[in-house]
Every structure is written in C-alpha cells, then in structure tokens.
Amino acid sequence: MQIGVPREQESNEKRVALVPDDVKKLVRMGAEVCVEAEAGRKAGFSDDLYRGAGAEISAERSKLLAESDVVLRVRKPPEDEVGALKKGAIHVSFLDPFNETALIESLRGSGATAISMEMIPRTTLAQKMDALSSQANLAGYVMVILGCSKLPTILPMMMTPAGTLKPATVFIIGAGVAGLQAIATARRLGAKVVAFDTRAVVAEQVESLGAKFLEIDLGETGQTKDGYAVELTPEQRNKQLEGQKKQIAESDVVITTAQVFGRKPPVIVTADMVKEMKPGSVIVDMAAETGGNVEGSVPGETIEVNGVTIIGNGNWTNVVARDASVMYSANLRNLIDEFWNEEAKEIALDFENEIVSGCVITHGGEVVNETIKNLNK
Amino acid sequence: MEIVFLAFILILSIFLGFELINKVPATLHTPLMSGSNAISGITLIGAIVSAGSDHELIATILGASAVAFASINVVGGYLVTDRMLGMFHKKKLEGKK
C-alpha cells in the first residue's frame, strides 16, 4: 500500500504532513511511502532525510497523487487535485467540512474516502490523533512569543536598582487547548495572567496553571460531549462583553482564542474596547483568519490602531513549523496505526468505530458523516 | 527496700515526664501549663488524709487548709484549662477553611 505525501501548495505553509521519523515507522509496518520532492524543506526536513528513512522521492506530483492509496496533507486539497486521486484512495487532511461544501461535494463525487482531521472525536482514546489539539497547543505558545516581541515592556516583574518594573498583565479569552498553553507560556515568562472562558469547567483548569480566572456570571452555558463550547445567547454575549471591558483596558496583552466548533468565531473584543487600551498594548487574535474575535483585526497582518498593536497573522503554527510538522505527522501516524491491518498491510477502516464514524466525511461516493450530512439539510 | 521502689518510681516518672511533652504549638503553651498545674494539685489527696486523720488538732487544721487550697488549684485549674481550650477550639474551627 502506498502512502503519498504531496508538497503543500500554499506559499505560507511551511509544515509537512509526514516527517522522516514517522516515515521510518510506517515503512517498518509495511507501507510504501512516497514523498514529493522538497515537501519537507520549509519545515527543516531535506529530501535526503526522507530517503534515509525509506521513502521514495517523487518529482512528479500528479503521478504521486494518482498512484497513492493514501494521501496525507496538512491543508485541504485544491479542488482541481481531487480528481487526480486514485480510485478509492483515502485522503487525510484538514478539510474545514462545515464551510467547504463544494470541496466535500467533489470529494464525494470522486469516490475517495476523505478524512477530516478536524473531526477526530475528543475522547481520551483518540487524543493521540487529535491534530486540532496538537496544533492549537503550539499556536498558544507562538501567540505569546509574538505578542511579547511586539510589547514595549517586558512581561516579568523586576525589582532592580533602577526601580521596579511591574509585571505585564496578560488576558487570555478562551481557555481551550490553545488558551491554556498561552496561559502557561505567559505565566512562565512571569506575566500576571487572567483568563476567561464561557465554559465554567475551565475555571479549575485555568487555576491549575496558576492563573486567575475572571468570574463573569453568564448564567447557564453549555458544552458539547466533545468538550466544545456552545454558542452564547445575545444576552449572554452582552454580559460577557460588559464583564471583560475593565480587564481588557487594564491588560498589556490580550490574546483571544475563542471558537465555537462549526461556527464563525464570536467577536469578543470590540473596537470600543481596543480604544480603551493603553498605547503600546498588544492584542493577538487567534481567529483573525476565520472571522476574528477582535473587531478591526486584519487577517494575516499585524496592524496598529491608536497605538495598540493587533496581531492577526494567523498561520501560527508555521512559526514553529518543525515542531508543528512533527506533531501533525505523529497524529497521522497514530491514526494509520490504529486502523492498520497487519496481515494485509493496509488500512482497514471499521465504520462501527466511533473515531472512524466521527472523522470520515465521504466514502464510496456518499457523505457518511452524520454531522455533515445533517448540516447540508 | 521501700526506698529502692520509691527511687525507681521517681526516676521512671521523671523520664516519662520528659518524654511525654514533645513539640507543643505556641497556642497550647498556656493551656498545657494550666492543665499540668491542675494535676500538681494531686497534693489534694495527701491533704485529705491529713485533714481526716485523728492526729493533733494542728495537723487537722493544716490538713483542712491544705484541702481548701488544693481544691482551689484542682477545681479552678481544670475549669480554667477547659475554658481556654474551648476558646482555642472555636478559633481553630474558624481558622480552618
């Protein structure tokens, strides 16, 4: 069975779907791995490393796509490459299935088995395949590093002969995986960290990292069985905005990571609030590229508004492309490993399995995923 | 021989006394002092014997006053200790989260 790894096409994508270490493991399991030339260069993995790990290097992208039984990528496939897939191939990547209706449709049409890495269920068992977590985790780290490289002050407190520098206050909105890692990183650097999330269970987690949880009484807020947040009512949203106002004005760095699974991220920092902030403050909007948590943030750019820097770069994990690739690749390898048939040396998806039924979107010309099916209705 | 017995008992009690008190938190210093002070009122039982026996009158008088003083020590001592500890107890309970 051949596993193919095409080079990512987006110019700002440095990651690669499979790293040499995992190539080695897959080859040992009995797979053939074919990697497009230069696929790993930007992440710091040369073709030689892949060759050394037992992969074949192919310069012909279309051949690679046409011959592989399994195709592994980071980003969703360009629509024009869907047709190039081998019949019945398994295609694994991020897909954004809630929004990419057209893409899903063409994948369905092509007869490929499309696995969406976003849709891996959030169970303890599936955690090793959960790429959303692994990438969000790194993003949390990166956002803090970028944020504090733009700040005109330092994060930690310092009592020095030339006076005492107060610790910077970092306010993190949304304490999911990315938010928690951001909390941890900012705390490591000595900042005073305050965090908020709509899910009440998170308060304990925030405190378990030594940070303070901002209490805002929103009334009943929900959480899906996968641990995702439920969208707020307009009333609750107003309460939240009101409750955060003061904290945002007092903060030196605000990092927003709020997401509602399957929907556009909520706007939680308004232009008014930005205006209230001290000049020199920094806002990092994790969601800038998918709609933005911050009013006025520009996708892909770092801008200044009234002296406040708003970082909307997106693409966070590409800053630490090597580690991000290592983790994504491990997620994919764990996925393959989990469903590997040792006899046949191939992937055998068991559609009874909760993980499979969760993450496979199309199969055999049908949209098989319940959530996505219902979405289209 | 009696002196030997007595000496043994004395020595053993003293060692035991030394061993019994180990590390006492500051809040307990006063109650412990007061509580053991009450015990030292044990001289009361000696006083009772003196006061009740048919020796000279003077012995009886001495005994009787000894009984009175010792009783103050014993009764007052135990009660005061208990009051102190009661207070302490309440404070502790409040202090606990």
Binding site: P156 | G35, I42, I48, V49, G52, A59, V67, A70, S71
Partner: protein, 453 residues
C-alpha cells in the same frame, strides 16, 4: 491492707489517666479531651482516697473541699479571658501552699525519721517558694505590682545569705525534727526566697516563670508524697515536675531566650545606655528557630544571592505557606540590588510561584520593620548590612538597606561568617537580636519546614 492495695491500684489507674491526659494536652486536636481525661484521673484519686482507713472524720475534709471548690469554680468562671495567665499563677501558688501544708502536717502522727524530715524540708521549701513566687508573678502579670524587674543594691549578697540560711535551717531540722523552730524559720525563709526569686524578673517573662513554678509545685507535691508515703503524689508530682521543665524550655525557645537569661538577666542589666559594642555571634539550630517562628505572628523574608546559590526558593515558598497556615503574616522584602543581576530575586520567587502581592520593595517594608516578630535573612548580606547606615567609613555607607536589625528577632541563614559581594564585614551578625542559622540555606529551610510537623 486489702483496702490500701485497692486504693493503690486505683491510684495506678489515675496515674495512667494523668499520663494519657498530659500526652493529649500537648496536641491541639486532643488537648481538650486530655484535660478531661486527667480530671477523671483526679476524681478517681480523690474518691478512693476517702476510703482510706486512716480517715476518721470527714467534716474538715468536706469543709475544705467545699470551700476550695466553690472558690475555684467561681474564680475560673468569672475570670476574664485576658486574665487567665495570672489566674493560673495564683492557682499554682495555692497548690504549692497546699503541698507545704501537707508536708508540715506529715510531721504529726508518726515518728519523725531523718528521711521523713528531709522530705518535709523539701516539700515545705519548694511549696513555699512556689507559693510566694506565684503570688508575685500574679501581681506582676495583673499589674497589681510594677512589672519591671526590681533590683536593689546588695541583692545578690542578700540572696546568697538567704540560701545559706535555708540550707542551714534545713539541715538543723533534719537532724532534730522535734525542734519545730527551725521548721517555722524555714517556712518564713522559703516565702522570702520565693519573693526574691521572682521580683528581679520582668513582667514579659512571667509566663516562663509561672511554667517553672508550675514544675516546682509538681516537685513539691512529689516531695509531699515522699513525706506522707503516697505513691500517686510521687508519680503525678514528678510527671508534672519533669514535663513542666520541658515546657518551660519550649517556652523559652519560643521567646528566643535561654532559661538562665530569663531568670537572671535582671541582675546584670543596668548597662543600658552605653554605646553599642560589638556583641558575640549567637548561632541557633533549626529546632529552636522553629519554636520562635511557630510563635511569631509576622515574618519578613529577605532573600539574597545565597538563596539563589542554594536554589532555596521552593522551600522558602513552602515555609511561607506553613507560616501562613499557622496564622502568621509573611512578607518578602526585596532589595533592589539583591542577587547578581537586576531582578534576580524576582526570577527565583516567580519560579517558586510566590505571589506578587507579598513582594514588597525596600521602601515599603522599612517603615514597618519594627513590627516584624522575625526577619529571616536568606543568604543576603550586603543588602542588610547596617554599616551602610551607621558606619561612615564603610564602602557601603549611604546605600539604603533593609533595616532587618530593627525587627524583633533576626535569623541570618548563611554558611559561614564570610562577607558578601562588597567584601565588607557585617555588624548585623553580632547584634543582640540576631541568630545565625549556619548551613546551606536550602538545607536550613528544609529543616525548619520539617520541624512544622
């Protein structure tokens, strides 16, 4: 004889209850029950004593018990919370007096052997000292008397003569127990001695004195026990005597004083007013330091480069938490130049997750420095060097320092008497209220932490 044995077996039971009671009294959870246990022991002892065949008439006993109990109950019930220590003192004095009387009464009824006479002398002497000593202590504590140490010229000579006289009387009486004259004189002298013993001690030290007198009253009971040949008196008395001494020691430690210092410091002290001279270095061990910290209600921690070298920040945090749990306020005083780089202390304390709220700058702690019971200097040296304030010749002169020497007690944790970065001798180490806790700071603090058991 059968009754006697029965009584004595009951005595054994009450001895056991006393032992258990004392043990329970020394731990917060069980203290109150301990007191009850020991009082049950007392009750048993009293009740079975009434079975004694030597007792022919219960009237006087009843009168004494009733009068005494009423007074005791009344006093114990009405005393103000704040006046308890002096109440204990006066109770204790009565106990001593009772022992004196019992010893004295033992003279009648049997033939006075030398042994008996010696025991009588002891019980009278110790009981008398306890009595008047306790009265004075009560007077000082309740401020019925001037609580300052009272001294007069010739005091030491007077005391020496007094002691000689006591010994002489004691010996005379022991040799001729029929001559009551000596006994009476002895009683008088022991009263005087009790007074002399306590007046030179200041009111602040009274708790220690009461504890010591309490131990004495135990010994008096023990001596009385020998006199009237009662085992329970001997056992209970010596238990109290011994445990009282330990308690006294513990209380001294919590005041960072030695017992000798408490008892006799009054004598040698009219030196106040002369200029501060170099004192001596007073080392302290973790155990003693524990007793002081345990009794402190506010502590200032001054970290320096040595804390960094020892990597002691984590245990420092742990100590902070223990102190706080003990009801003590803990503040960190961070000097701007402490350590070897700007913000050195902050890095370490943040690592140990010490809250920013308890970090204070030099200018915040100095104004209130004399309110700290203890200042713990952890591997700091130059930044707490009073020469910077006092010694114009010092290279540090003029640098503001954290004035730890002005807090009540200072612990300096370092490995040796070596000087710090600036290479300057530190007079702090020689101050009266300074104790050196030698050793690696981390080890020292860990030891302190472990003392909080």
């Amino acid at each position: 004889m059968n009754a006697a044995i029965l009584i004595n077996l009951a005595y054994i039971a009450s001895a056991i209850l006393f032992i258990l009671g004392l043990k329970m009294l020394s731990s917060p959870e069980t203290a109150r029950r301990g007191n009850v246990v020991s009082s049950v022991g007392m009750l048993i002892a009293v009740v079975v004593t009434l079975l004694n065949q030597g007792i022919v008439d219960f009237t006087w006993i009843a009168v004494g018990v009733i009068v005494g109990s009423l007074i005791g109950v009344f006093a114990a019930r009405t005393v103000a919370m704040t006046a308890m220590p002096e109440m204990v003192a006066i109770f204790n004095g009565f106990g001593g007096l009772a022992s004196l009387l019992v010893g004295w009464a033992a003279l009648y009824g049997t033939d006075a052997t030398t042994f008996l006479a010696v025991t009588i002398v002891l019980s009278v002497l110790i009981g008398g000292v306890t009595f008047t000593g306790s009265i004075i202590a009560w007077g000082k504590l309740s401020e019925k008397m001037n609580s300052r140490p009272m001294l007069f010229t010739g005091q030491q000579i007077f005391n020496s003569i007094l002691m000689l006289a006591i010994v002489a009387c004691g010996v005379m009486f022991a040799m001729d127990p029929t001559n009551l004259m000596y006994l009476y004189i002895l009683i008088g002298l022991s009263f005087v001695f009790g007074v002399m013993f306590v007046i030179p001690i200041g009111g602040g030290d009274m708790p220690v004195v009461i504890s010591l007198l309490n131990s004495y009253s135990g010994l008096a009971a023990c001596a009385a026990g020998f006199a009237i040949n009662n085992l329970l008196l001997i056992v209970a008395g010596s238990l109290v005597g011994a445990s009282g001494i330990i308690l006294t020691k513990i209380m001294c430690k919590a005041m960072n004083r030695s017992l000798t210092n408490v008892l006799f410091s009054g004598f040698g002290s009219p030196k106040t007013g002369t200029k501060q001279v170099e004192g001596t270095v007073k080392p302290i061990v973790a155990e003693d330091a524990y007793f002081i910290l345990e009794a402190a209600s506010s502590v200032l921690v001054v970290p320096g480069y040595g804390m960094a070298v020892a990597q002691a920040q984590h245990v420092v945090k742990e100590l902070q938490e223990l102190l706080e749990k003990n009801g003590c306020e803990v503040v960190y005083g961070v000097h701007p130049v402490a350590g070897r780089m700007p913000g050195h202390m902050n890095v370490l304390l943040a690592e140990a997750d010490v809250s920013y709220d308890v970090l204070q700058e030099m200018d915040q702690v100095n104004p209130r420095i004399d309110n700290f019971d203890v200042a713990i200097v952890i591997g700091a040296n130059d930044v707490v060097n009073p020469a910077a304030r006092e010694d114009e010749g010092s290279p540090l002169y003029g640098m503001p320092i954290i004035n730890v020497d002005k807090s009540r007690t200072v612990f300096v944790l370092k490995r040796s008497m070596a000087s710090g970065f600036a290479g300057v001798e530190n007079p702090l180490f020689f101050k009266d209220n300074t104790r050196m806790l030698f050793g690696d700071a981390k080890e020292s603090i860990s030891a302190l932490v472990r003392e909080f058991g």
